[in-house]
Amino acid sequence: MSNWTIADGYKYAKSDEWIKQEGGEALIGISDYAQNQLSDLVFIELPKVGASYSAGQAFGVVESVKAAADVNMPASGEVIAVNAELESSPETMNQDAYGKGWIIRIKLSNPADLDALMDAAAYTAYCNERA
């Protein structure tokens, strides 16, 4: 019995971000495991719309009172939308990590990037071994 959930249908990076592909686009956020480790989030530094990043590159920073962590791209692409609400309510990432807590929407530049990521089962195992 763990303190976090892993959502099905999402893919996960080793650095604890999730990505949900929607055709040529994708939504990106941090996993429930990540928000649990960080505890109450107080701040997020969002990227600019139009900026492009490659897989593994940091595009933003999340902060709680006891930690600050880079948020990295699970796959390469261009930022086409950011969840600006998170600036006033960063706790949404704690409350609903996979839904309302989405951070950015990107246009995928190389959908094959997702093949290198973990599925829900693999990520669950990865979280359990670190706990």
Binding site: D40, V42, F43, E63, S64, V65, K66, P90
Partner: protein, 491 residues
């Protein structure tokens, strides 16, 4: 009873300290250059005294009780040192006065340089850095400069154990170098195999704290130093834990090339609520030319046997440069020198012996109850886990807050990062056996409470001036200033 902000005390037009009327003709004041308002308090002197007296009473200090903060060396701050630092001949001299008029100050600095060099086993010392982190930064810059001076531009990495204080990697980044983490082994030492694998010709050096932040003396320190030297790198010693080593071993003798000292830890200068400190650096022969300067040296030898040399400032020929304006935190040199004189060489060894004795004693008294991950002879501090297998809801934080109800300052929490729920306990040598016993008893009582009445811990502190504070709120709704700020004229 909450103490109001000073701005909420007093009343308009009230004066504090009065200054004399000008005794010279008044010069013209160009009105367009002058400010319209000066938003400072309007209180009388008694208001100021009461306000800060009442504020002070909300604080815990070493003067009040035991303060076992690991890595901070909260030893007694001798008041003799405070009086000496305030002697007019030290307190009222200007840093740019002609050196002829401040030979006493320069001589004092020279002696402090010599004492530190002798204690650490180094060829020379600069007193300029203002704090430990400042000394670290200077040390890394020196190592970097040393390699560049040899024409070696390949080296960009600093190896740092995972148990290191955060200032180590932070100082590395400021120097434009890359921090590479080296794991610790199961006994709490630097993992020799991993270190060996990381040592190559791209390494500037290793930063190592010995004893380390687990309070353990590196069991293979000579091999560690050799591995780094063999690949052409230098060894930097973080001297935060020097309180364990005086008269016991000299890092210079072990092969360390550079080390910083913390006068506000080992040498009893007071912490003052966060500072000031002083972080001199000592170096081996090959790094002497690179010291941050100027440093104090003999600029004229004595003319006869009974004479004193003339002291002055000397800039090391390949100095990394100045790291601070003026000469360093001189007031802390006076305090440290008074401290050194009162102990002498043998006395400082006794300081380290008793510091190490005290730490081992507490460990011996609480180890059965608090898990000690590295349960072997430690140095001046040790780390235990603030958690119990059969009381999983209790965290180190809860134990720390409950200690306040027992009138103790908590030990360092959550550091080093490599121990879960870490509690780092450093008693220092100025604590008596009675104090140590009463602390051990409090820790054991709290462990019992953790099992029998956990709410006492979860809701602690109960007797402090204020309860647990909402740090999330503080970070989300930043309130860092209580005065309205005027808009810029050209906004």
């Amino acid at each position: 009873m909450k103490e109001p902000l000073i701005y909420d005390l007093g009343s308009p037009g009230r004066n504090g300290v009065l200054m004399p009327q000008p005794d010279v003709p008044l010069a013209k004041i160009p009105k367009d250059m002058m400010r319209d308002d000066l938003d400072l308090p309007e209180v009388s002197e008694i208001d100021v005294v009461r306000h800060f007296t009442r504020l002070s009473q909300l604080n815990y200090g070493i003067d009040k009780g035991f303060y076992p903060l690991g890595s901070c060396t909260m030893k007694y701050n001798p008041r003799l040192n405070e009086d000496m630092a305030r002697l007019p001949g030290f307190a009222a001299i200007h840093p740019y006065q002609n050196t002829e008029t401040v030979q006493g100050a320069l001589e004092l600095m020279f002696h402090v340089q010599e004492w530190l060099a002798e204690l650490g086993g180094f060829a020379g010392v600069s007193l300029q850095p203002a704090a430990g982190a400042h000394g670290e930064f200077s040390g890394i810059l020196m190592m970097r400069a040393y390699h560049l001076d040899r024409g070696d531009t390949k080296r960009t990495k600093i190896l740092i154990p995972d148990s290191a204080h955060g200032t180590n990697p932070a100082s590395t980044t400021m120097s434009g170098l890359q921090a590479v983490e080296i794991p610790s082994d199961a006994r709490g030492n630097v993992d020799l195999d991993k270190l060996k694998a990381a040592c190559d010709d791209t390494v500037v050096g290793l930063m190592i704290t010995n004893p380390n932040t687990l309070g353990l003396f590196e069991e293979h320190i000579l091999e560690v130093v050799k591995l780094v030297h063999d690949c052409g790198g230098l060894v930097y010693g973080d001297g935060a834990n020097f309180n364990a080593l005086m008269g016991i071993v000299r890092p210079g003798d072990l092969g360390f090339d550079v080390m910083h000292y913390n006068l506000h830890k080992t040498f009893s200068t007071p912490h003052g609520g966060g500072g000031p400190g002083s972080g001199p650096v000592g170096v081996a022969e090959r790094l002497l030319p690179f010291l941050p300067g100027p440093i104090v040296g003999v600029v004229q030898e004595p003319q006869s046997e009974d004479d004193m040399p003339d002291f002055g400032f000397v800039m090391p020929e390949k100095s990394i440069g100045r790291v601070k304006a003026f000469h360093g935190n001189f007031g802390m040199f006076v305090r440290a020198y008074a401290y050194m004189l009162v102990y002498g060489g043998e006395g400082l060894r006794r300081v380290s012996e008793m510091a190490v004795l005290n730490a081992n004693y507490i460990r011996a008294r609480i180890r059965g109850v608090y898990p000690v991950p590295h349960d072997r002879i430690n140095m001046h501090e040790f780390v235990c886990e603030g958690r119990f297998a059969d009381a999983p809801d209790i965290h180190a934080l809860d134990i720390a807050k409950r200690l306040m109800d027992y009138s103790f300052h908590p030990p360092t929490n959550y550091f080093p990062l490599i121990v879960h729920e870490a509690l780092m306990i450093e008693p220092t040598e100025t604590e008596s056996k009675e104090t140590l016993d009463s602390f051990a008893e409090a820790m054991l009582a709290i462990a019992r409470e953790a099992h029998e009445q956990p709410s006492l811990l979860k809701e602690a502190p109960h007797t402090a001036p204020i309860g647990r504070l909402d740090e999330v709120l503080a970070a989300k709704q930043l309130a860092l200033c209580c005065r309205p700020i005027p808009i810029p004229e050209n906004a």
